[in-house]
Amino acid sequence: MKIDVRRNILEANKELSLRNSDFFRENRVMAVNIMAAPGAGKTSTILKTIDALREKMNFIVVEGDIASSIDTDKIKKRGVPAVQINTGHMCHLDANMIKGVVDNFEYGQNTVLFIENVGNLVCPADFSLGEDINIVIASVPEGDDKPFKYPAIFLKADIVLLNKIDTLDSIDFDKDFFYEGLSVLRTSFPVFEVSCKTGEGFDEWANWLMTRYEEKFPGSGSAR
C-alpha cells in the first residue's frame, strides 16, 4: 500500500532557520550568509567591510570551519565579537549550529551578523540558516568557470562579490564568460568586483549592504 507523505527532507533545518530568522528580527540583526570556496577571501572581505562601516553599524561574526580558530582570532583582534563553530566532519553550517551560538552575543544596537560558512561551493547551498542575504564570493584566481560548475550555490546567492579583481592582469580570467554563467541563473544579478587588497569596489558593496539594512529595518538611518 502506498501512503502520500509530501514532506521536505530538510524540513527540520527549515523550521529552525525560521526561528533564527525571528530571533534576528527581534534583535535588530540582519544576517548575511557568506559562501565561497576555501581561499576566496571570506574573512578578508568581512574585515574590510567592517572597516568600511563600523562607524555606522555594529558587527558580530560567526565563523564556520572544519577545524581551528584562526579566523575568529583575526576578527577578535580587531575588537569585533566573534564565535567559532568547528564542524568536524561537516561540510556546511546548519540552522541548529547557528541557534547554538547566537546567545553568545549582546544585542540592542543595529547589527549586521556575518556568518562565514565552511569553505565549500557545494553543500552550503542546501541549508538555510535564517539569513536575510546570501552572498557568494568568487575570486579571480579560482577561474571564470565557477558559475557553470557550481550552479546550485550561485542560484542561492542574492549577490556575488568577485574578489581579487586586482589580479585580473596576471591571470587568464574571461569576465564575459563568468558573467554568462551567472546570466542564465537570474535576469539581473548584482555583482560587485572588489579587491580586499586595494579596497576597490568596497564603497559600492558597503552602500548596497547598508541599503539592505535600511530596507529590513526602515527608519534605522543605517546608524547606531
Binding site: 501512503i3 502520500d4 527532507i9 561540510c91 542546501d126 541549508f127 560548475k149 542560484l155 542564465v184 537570474r186
Partner: protein, 117 residues
C-alpha cells in the same frame, strides 16, 4: 558530502509517518530529488541501511526520481535541458534563463505492508 545528516532527517520523517498511521513495516520510500540538490543516491541508501536497523523502515528500498533543471530560451521560448556548459538554445542559439531550478528535495510517498493496518 552531507548524506549522513540528510539520511537522519529522512529516516526520522518516515518513521514518524509510520508511527502516526500505525504502520509496522515500511518497504519502500519514494523520493523526488532535483538536479541541484547535492546528494549522491547510493550514499544515502548506504547510510539508510545502517541507520534504519531496528526501526519500522529497516530494509526499505529508496527510489529516487530525479528532476532535471530546465532552461528556457529568451528568444524563442524553447525549454531544454542543458548539456555540458553550453546554455545556448539548441534550436535558435539564443541565450537562456533557468525556468525549473531542479531544487526538489522531498519524500513523495512511502510503500508499507498492508496487513498491519
Amino acid at each position: 558530502m552531507h548524506e549522513l545528516s540528510v539520511t537522519e532527517g529522512l529516516l526520522s520523517i518516515v518513521n514518524e509517518e509510520a508511527r502516526k498511521r500505525g504502520v509496522k513495516k515500511v518497504t519502500g520510500i519514494n523520493l523526488v530529488v532535483g538536479e541541484m540538490a547535492s546528494i549522491i543516491d547510493e550514499s544515502v541508501q548506504f547510510y539508510f541501511d545502517i541507520l534504519s536497523k531496528g526501526t519500522a523502515s529497516e530494509g526499505a528500498a529508496l527510489f529516487f526520481r530525479k528532476v532535471a533543471a530546465e532552461y528556457g530560451c529568451r528568444t524563442c521560448n524553447h525549454v531544454f535541458q542543458k548539456k555540458s556548459y553550453d546554455y545556448n538554445c539548441p534550436l535558435c542559439g539564443g541565450k537562456a534563463i533557468i525556468v525549473n531550478k531542479g531544487q526538489e528535495f522531498y519524500i513523495d510517498s512511502i510503500e508499507v505492508e498492508n496487513d498491519e493496518n
